[in-house]
């Protein structure tokens, strides 16, 4: 109100003091007014009217907001009722139980005697478009759980058995590894969890998901021998057709074989140490073999074809028929085998009756950087118990 009176006073001073305006007025009671006083009253009356309009208007807005909130609450209530009706109305055959996943907004029925066996909670990976050139292994984070049942031992025993399984399972499939107990879930009561970090060898196979039509990489941990065989095949593939092999014969062939063996070892070392990206492998081998001349045929080109039999073909076919396929023989062009660093964290949560598993992986080249990301993810974990 004071500001309205002030504004009226200022308007009167400006209009009648500086601009020399004139005004005449009469009140309803018959009093006559003139000059600045009339101007002051007129300006104050105008400003007051404007203020009342604004006040009424904001009261209207407030009223509208309250109405909106009420309607919104009502809609939520109706929505909840409908949801409950939907859940109650979802088909539930006899001896089935309804399961609701609030996060995924999913309802289904399961046979009553079936028990939960754990599931994936989260799975994230860096999109391939964001990977550096030559990097074929996107880092990923997977979180899953299994329920704690009457048969599940206490955390100490559980962790000890897990570590023993890990040692047995890792065996020829990687290593060395290290383990430690870390706190998961933040203060004030972090949950002691078992963290395992190891070098493994991972085979990835490009696989067409018929359902989605997308190509996906299916991963599995393999043995060191599989990695060595894979490197040997990659080396052989690039060097195929190059042969420093002439009249000297077998001795040069031995030298050639020695070269291949040394190159295979070098490629393995480079991949293991992370100095070489898997995607740059072919170029690396090409570069190393660059000085070796390509030579695939030295026969007499114009000699006539005689009446020789097909002994070579018969022998080739018979010999191939006798070959027993080794496991690694089944690897194909769509496969990669490369050294990978993996981190597993197992968190035994008594309160939630669940054992959570956090799994992180990246290829050797990038693990140093991505492990910092993995640790940030771990530190962010909180349990809504």
């Amino acid at each position: 109100m004071l500001s309205i009176l002030g504004a009226g006073l200022v308007a009167a001073i400006v209009c009648f003091g500086f601009l020399r305006s004139e005004a005449l007025g009469e009140t309803p009671t018959g009093w006559s007014l003139s000059g600045a006083v009339a101007g002051f009253l007129a300006a104050s009356a105008f400003a007051g009217g404007l203020f009342r309009e604004l006040e009424n208007s904001s009261a209207g807005v407030e009223k509208l907001r309250q109405q909106y909130d009420m309607e919104n609450q009502e809609l939520r209530r109706v929505n909840k009722e409908l949801e409950q009706k939907l859940i109650r109305g979802a088909p539930k055959p006899e001896e089935f139980e309804t399961e609701v996943d609030e996060r995924q907004r999913l309802v289904l029925s399961r046979p009553k005697e079936w028990e939960p066996v754990g599931a994936s909670v989260f799975a994230f990976q860096r999109p391939e478009r964001l990977l550096r050139k030559g990097d074929t292994f996107p880092p990923y984070v997977r979180v899953s759980y299994e329920p704690i049942t009457a048969a599940t031992p206490d955390p100490d025993v559980y962790y000890r058995e897990l570590q023993q399984r890990f040692e047995r399972g890792l065996g020829s499939r990687g290593g060395p590894y290290r383990s430690e107990i870390v706190g998961i879930g933040g203060e004030p009561a972090p949950i002691p969890s078992l963290k395992l970090v190891a070098r493994t060898y991972v085979k990835t196979v490009l696989h067409l998901n018929l359902l989605t039509g997308q190509e996906e990489r299916v991963r599995s941990i393999v043995r060191l021998e599989d990695f060595e065989a894979h490197v040997a095949t990659r080396v052989n593939k690039v060097l195929g057709g190059r042969v420093p092999f002439g009249k000297l014969g077998w001795d040069q062939l031995s030298q050639w074989q020695d070269f291949q063996v040394r190159l295979r070892q070098e490629v393995q070392d480079e991949l293991e140490s992370g100095r070489l990206e898997y995607g740059d492998l072919a170029g690396f081998i090409e570069e190393r073999a660059g000085t070796v001349a390509s030579r695939t045929s030295t026969g007499e080109e114009s000699a006539p074809v005689g009446q020789a039999s097909d002994a070579a073909m018969d022998q080739g076919a018979e010999a191939a028929e006798n070959i027993t396929a080794a496991e690694e023989d089944m690897l194909s062009e769509s496969e990669e085998v490369l050294p990978v660093a993996e981190m597993w964290v197992c968190c035994y949560h008594r309160g939630l009756r669940k054992v959570f598993f956090f799994e992180f992986a990246d290829n050797s080249t990038d693990y140093r950087n991505s492990s910092a990301v993995f640790n940030s993810v771990l530190q962010s974990v909180r349990f809504l118990s």
């Binding site: 026969g299 074809v305 002994a311 022998q315 080739g316 070959i323």
Partner: protein, 151 residues
């Protein structure tokens, strides 16, 4: 390694042809060597014999890729040919094979060392060692020559 000599001996009617073959198998079945000899037109030399075999391989074997082909001393120091190649049999895994060829005294000699493509780096050395140790017994070669047989 020990040396194996074929032990079968037989009489052959005049005009009949003889093929002979030995097969060496690895214990796990993932590698083998087959060596054989067969009667051959005396006009054919080792280069023709080797090249013709290669042409047949290229025509008949699915996914055939020749890797190496070169003249080399074979079967105990005779000038012959060496070929390495890969192919995929219809009902089996891709294989890597090495073959030696020699035409001598109206006989064609062929040896094939085979392993799965993915196992090649494991067996390559031993297979080549076996191929290098294959040789023709000159004594038996002369004894088997029909023209040198008595009445």
């Amino acid at each position: 390694m020990y040396r194996f000599r074929p032990t079968l001996v037989t009489d052959v009617p005049d005009g009949w042809l003889v093929k002979e073959s030995i097969t060496i198998l690895s214990p796990d079945g993932q590698a083998n060597v087959i060596a054989s000899s067969e009667p051959l037109d005396s006009a054919i030399n080792s280069a023709e014999y080797a090249r013709e075999q290669g042409e047949l391989l290229g025509e008949k074997f699915p996914g055939y890729t020749q890797l190496h082909y070169a003249p080399v001393d074979v079967f105990g120091g005779h000038p012959g040919y060496y070929r390495s190649f890969q192919w995929t049999p219809p009902d089996n895994v891709p294989v890597s094979q090495f073959q030696l060829y020699l035409a001598r005294n109206s006989r064609g000699y062929t040896a094939t060392a085979t392993t799965g493509l993915r196992s090649a780096h494991i067996y390559q050395d031993i297979l080549i060692a076996i191929l290098r140790q294959l040789f023709i017994s000159e004594e038996d070669l002369m004894a088997n020559d029909p023209s040198s047989a008595g009445p």
